[in-house]
């Protein structure tokens, strides 16, 4: 191993650490934002005691989770019981490395050009889908290993739901792949630049975007698709028996999944880091261009996160048979239809 490879590996490790830290911070504050916004929707205040306006609440929560007693059920399957939250969190975090957080830009006063992507490879979209599909095991194994019927029901529901909606999710992305002609996320974002923002794939593939959003909510087990943890029926679903830090890991995984799903929606449909008119004002490759683009990317993600919280405050939960009917009989045919429409569009206007 020569010094160049060693330096590369070191740089990647630093980049991964920075990205994970930033994302975890954003996720922690998403939890706070959710509690405050839900409070606003329901006509109450929400947590506002720790720090100015409740801004330090996530750290108080973290401290509480760390200090609480960690209860392990007597008849649980020990190894799997410990493995499940680890799988859930790891699978949620692992997709983070392929997203383009911003364009390549030049560091001021030097000649160094930095890409705001940790890893770039040919099949990054498939990588994201693959890792997401492995994330199901966290929930399934948690439900099984707890040796509790409510947990088991939650785990079974979660896996059935995630398998069903993964299909519609994957199909809704095919239109984007057809439009871009590549599976590389960085290239997909590049394809959407120009036309002052009118080239985002949402305008060419709107039906696919709607289907993706619905399927993504179901994939992350959020309201109105939160049947795996429906508290009126299943106590707390698959994480009924989990406490302290292990529960916190599931909680974290859910919010990281929300974040990554929003990130994928932004990357594929809303032009990723492309901000309309940013290129004309700052010029491509400058530091300010990089900064504005990265902030634009973050803003789009925050919009999606807000949408999630808004939905949670507004919609009631589905019934399980409604969920399955909706997934297989409505979402799947419409996903196929959206592929058909987009393919026809590309066939008619090949220069799009």
């Amino acid at each position: 191993m020569d010094s160049q490879t060693a330096l590369d590996i070191l740089l990647k490790l630093v980049a991964i650490t920075v990205a994970f830290t930033v994302v975890l911070l954003i996720v922690a504050y998403t939890v706070l934002a959710e509690r405050r916004i839900l409070g606003f929707i329901q006509g109450r205040l929400g947590p506002n005691r720790v720090g100015p306006g409740g801004l330090l609440q996530p750290f108080a929560d973290l401290l509480k989770f760390i200090l609480k007693e960690d209860i392990v059920p007597d008849k649980s399957t020990r190894f799997v019981y410990f493995l499940a939250p680890v799988i859930a969190t790891m699978a949620a975090l692992m997709t983070m490395i392929v997203y383009p957080f911003g364009p390549e830009f030049q560091v001021p006063f030097t000649n160094i050009v930095i890409p705001l992507t940790i890893a770039r490879f040919d099949v990054s979209l498939l990588y994201v889908l693959g890792i997401t599909s492995v994330g199901v095991y966290g929930i399934m194994l948690a439900g099984w290993s707890s040796n509790n019927k409510y947990s088991l029901m939650g785990g079974l529901r979660a896996s059935a739901q995630m398998i069903s909606y993964e299909l519609a999710l994957g199909l809704s992305l095919i239109g984007v792949i057809l439009l871009a002609g590549t599976l590389d996320l960085a290239q997909i974002v590049e394809m959407q630049s120009g036309w002052h923002g009118a080239r985002w794939f949402i305008f060419f593939h709107p039906l696919g975007f709607i289907i993706y959003m619905i399927a993504a909510i179901a994939e992350t087990n959020r309201v109105p698709f939160d049947l795996p943890e429906a508290e009126t029926e299943l106590v707390a679903g698959f994480h009924t028996e989990y406490s302290a830090m292990k529960f916190a890991l599931f909680f974290l995984a859910e919010y990281i999944n929300m974040f990554t799903v929003s990130m994928l929606a932004t990357t594929l449909f809303l032009g990723g880091w492309n901000v309309p008119f940013a290129e004309d004002i700052f010029g491509r490759g400058t530091f300010l261009f990089g900064l504005v683009s990265a902030l634009g990317f973050l803003l789009k993600i925050i919009f999606f996160l807000f949408l999630y919280i808004w939905l949670r405050g507004t919609l009631p939960r589905f019934r399980f048979d409604q969920l399955m009917n909706f997934g297989w009989r409505i979402l799947l045919p419409f996903a196929l239809l959206s592929i058909f429409i987009t393919a026809t569009l590309i066939f008619l206007f090949p220069n799009l």
Binding site: D122, G130, T132, M140, S159, A160, F320
Partner: protein, 225 residues
């Protein structure tokens, strides 16, 4: 570096594969099998075939094994008891087959020198993009179109076959199941009809089911008896 990664992932794959066979709990075997698939995917990445690696994870680890684990959880298969080994006579056969396999690998390692690319087998291909999506896609839809289509039809047949097997003697496809209600085939309330009639009804009590199916008198008789 590559050799190190190869040793790591190959070791993981072999370790997990041994665990698949050695574990008594079927769920542990399934988890080990997932480990095998993921280590294999990592090996594919080191072999410059990222597409195959991604598909390996999506299809095997993400779809097939989820169903396997789902079924194990649903049936709640208990730990296999120490049963008498009925297939003991196959042990020498297995050892013999394993010996042949190892001999084959050793033979290949000894006789084949150099990779196909250097010995002139694959020179027309640029080895840097063999494993990429585009080259696989264009090969699949031009050169190997017929095998591709035949495989698709084979999979379709498997799905249709599974559906026909699962549907046999079940509710009619038009039957709607409402939670909290029971769906009863006619044969359950009226044994004289036999199992051929699979007309389904929608109700939440056996009495109402009997009335809807027009066998209320029959049921009243049997109650009185």
């Amino acid at each position: 570096m590559l050799a190190l990664l190869f040793l790591l992932f190959a070791g993981m794959a072999i370790g997990c594969a041994l665990a698949v066979v050695a574990q008594r709990n079927p769920l542990y075997s399934a988890i080990s099998l997932i480990g095998v698939f993921i280590s294999l995917a990592c090996l594919y990445v080191t072999l410059a075939a990222p597409f195959i690696a991604a598909v390996q994870v999506i299809v095997y680890a993400g779809a097939i094994m989820v169903l396997v684990v789902f079924v194990i959880m649903l049936l709640n298969v208990e730990e296999e008891a120490h049963q008498r080994q009925r297939l003991k006579f196959l042990l020498p056969v297995a050892i013999g087959l394993a010996g042949i396999l190892i001999a084959e690998v050793a033979f290949i390692l000894v006789t084949v020198q150099g990779t196909p690319a250097t010995s002139g087998g694959l020179t027309h291909l640029d080895e840097t993009n063999v494993g990429l999506t585009q080259s696989i896609g264009s090969a699949l839809f031009t050169q190997y179109l017929l095998p591709f289509e035949i495989t698709s039809i084979l999979l379709l047949m498997a799905i249709v076959g599974a559906m026909t097997l699962a549907r046999r003697g079940m509710l009619s496809p038009n039957a709607r199941v409402v939670p909290g209600a029971q769906v009863l085939p006619l044969s359950m309330v009226d044994p004289t009809v036999g199992h051929e009639d699979t007309r389904a009804i929608e109700t939440d009590s056996t009495d109402e089911a009997a009335r809807l199916l027009g066998v209320a008198e029959l049921r009243d008789q049997s109650k009185r008896e």
